[in-house]
């Protein structure tokens, strides 16, 4: 991964893994119809409202930042989307999953129904297009599925099975069901396993990542 030349504004477009998959399927699902903008890599604490040169220089440090090249994992890019909101907005959409961290025992199940706060004028709402949920290590769950969204894409993602390797799995739904694994060998000598669950509002772009801990109970 290298830094891009920042002398001029240029773009470097690449297909994501998902894009390649859909292109290979050749069923028309690779059809660009919309776009989103994001400010991944930007740290707004660099926005200096006490800059001695005045407000024109508040963003000086951010604007000088070199940007990394694009990478093809769709789960690791376009994380923080820019939103179109009325001028004067003071609160931005946030996801609330009901958990700041998830700790469940082996074999236990959990249903997560995310809500979006500060969205479309409502304090709290459920997004119509649902939520994308990604578990970073699919081995730690025996079931990981989304319910409530019945699109072809959602059903296809639910049907995907991955076994044996430490890879992520993504599902779509208004509610996400997960069941902790009962397989002891994954633990080795440890008493718990850790991974993360990332939820993204498919309309708002709001995002939250929650640590997940599976506690060993079987001997």
């Amino acid at each position: 991964m290298g830094y891009l030349n920042n002398a001029v504004v240029t773009v470097d477009a690449i297909l994501t893994k998902k894009g390649r998959e859909l292109l290979a399927r050749g069923d028309g699902s690779f059809k660009i119809t919309q776009f989103a903008l994001s400010d991944d890599e930007i740290d707004y604490t660099l926005y200096n409202t006490t800059h001695p040169s005045g407000s024109s220089f508040y963003g000086e440090a951010i604007e000088a930042m070199p940007i990394l090249e694009a990478f093809p994992d769709e789960n690791q890019i376009m994380k923080y989307k820019l939103a179109t909101l009325p001028r004067g907005t003071s609160k931005l959409p946030l996801l609330e999953a009901g958990y700041s961290a998830i700790r469940i025992k082996q074999g236990a199940s959990l249903a997560i129904t995310p809500q979006t706060l500060n969205y479309l004028g409502a304090t709290s709402t459920f997004e119509a297009a649902g939520y994308t949920a990604t578990i970073a290590d699919v081995r730690v769950v025996s079931n990981f599925s989304g319910v409530g969204v019945n699109t072809e894409e959602a059903e296809r993602l639910n049907a995907v099975t991955t076994a044996g390797t430490n890879v992520s799995k993504t599902v779509i739904g208004t509610s996400i069901n997960l069941t902790a694994t009962t397989v002891n060998t994954l633990f080795g000598s440890r008493t718990q396993l850790q991974t993360t669950l990332t939820l993204v509002g498919r309309d708002s772009g709001a995002r939250i990542t929650i640590p997940v801990t599976i506690i060993k109970v079987n001997n």
Partner: protein, 340 residues
Amino acid sequence: MSFKRFDNEDIVISADSISSPAWTGNEVRLQNFFTSSAQIDGPTGKYFYDVYNGAADAAASQIQFSIAYGNKDGSGSSALNASVASNSPSSIIYKQYRSLINGSEDIELSFDGTDVTHIYSIAIQRARYKEKLLPGSLTLQLGDLFLTDNSKEVTTQTFTDAGRVFQIISGSAGTKTDSPKDTAAKGNSKSHGSYGLFLPDTGLIILNGKALDAPVSDGGVALASATASVAPAVENMALIYDKLEAPTNGNFTVRSEETVSSNYVFVRARNSEFNYSTNPSNITGSGELRHSSMIDSPQSYITAVGLYNDNNDLLAVSKLSRPLLKDFTKEALVRIKLDY
């Protein structure tokens, strides 16, 4: 709120032709040639010689092209089976190319009107030319003879079953020599037609054996192809290889040509759009903006553009080379080029 649909005129498809050196490492001119004794001594060595850009056993070396010899009657190599004298590697090669180029067993390979029954082929390795070779870019030096194609000399294109075909003439880089040997001054050999055929769409160069066998005074290189019906002491492929190697600095230059289809996508962010960031460093735990000055004068910094389908699947992504400031007084127009 985070997604904006494209208008029809925002997505444009364009096809551009791109040319680049054919050889490994984008070397413009191949000067040194190497073969593999293991390949030559193996079962394929009777049919063709693979030619490398470095020592065949070196990690960085790759096959650049292959040389084969073809003879209609099977001469120049021993028969596969003594009871079928005409079936030899050379006859197999000749008939292979005759079929590929003419699509008929009744029409012999012809070099600007002269039928010839023994040929040499140079097949450029597929990985070297992405889609096709670029007419007018060829320079092939055999001993003191410089050859090129006549694509700059002709006004109409000729097609065979193997795509476009151009005659190979005396000259370099598409330019005919100043002193051609033929009376018509086409750049052909004195009395055996053109020096070969250049088939850019299939990456092939077919050389006229008769023209190369001719003495230097007649425009040839006195190749002395072996035409007996037994395996020669030196395979005919080696004769061409030796002529390639004969100059102190050899010269085999040709460029590849590729048509790249690109989607140009115009991303337009209006002044009222995309001014707020969901970046966690921009908001507090309750969703309030970190900097109160951004409530009425929000500023965001575009670093990436994501292209989505109707299912909100991220199909392609592009990064800007530096953060682009966006606020209610600015509009952004970003052109994204997407090749596949």
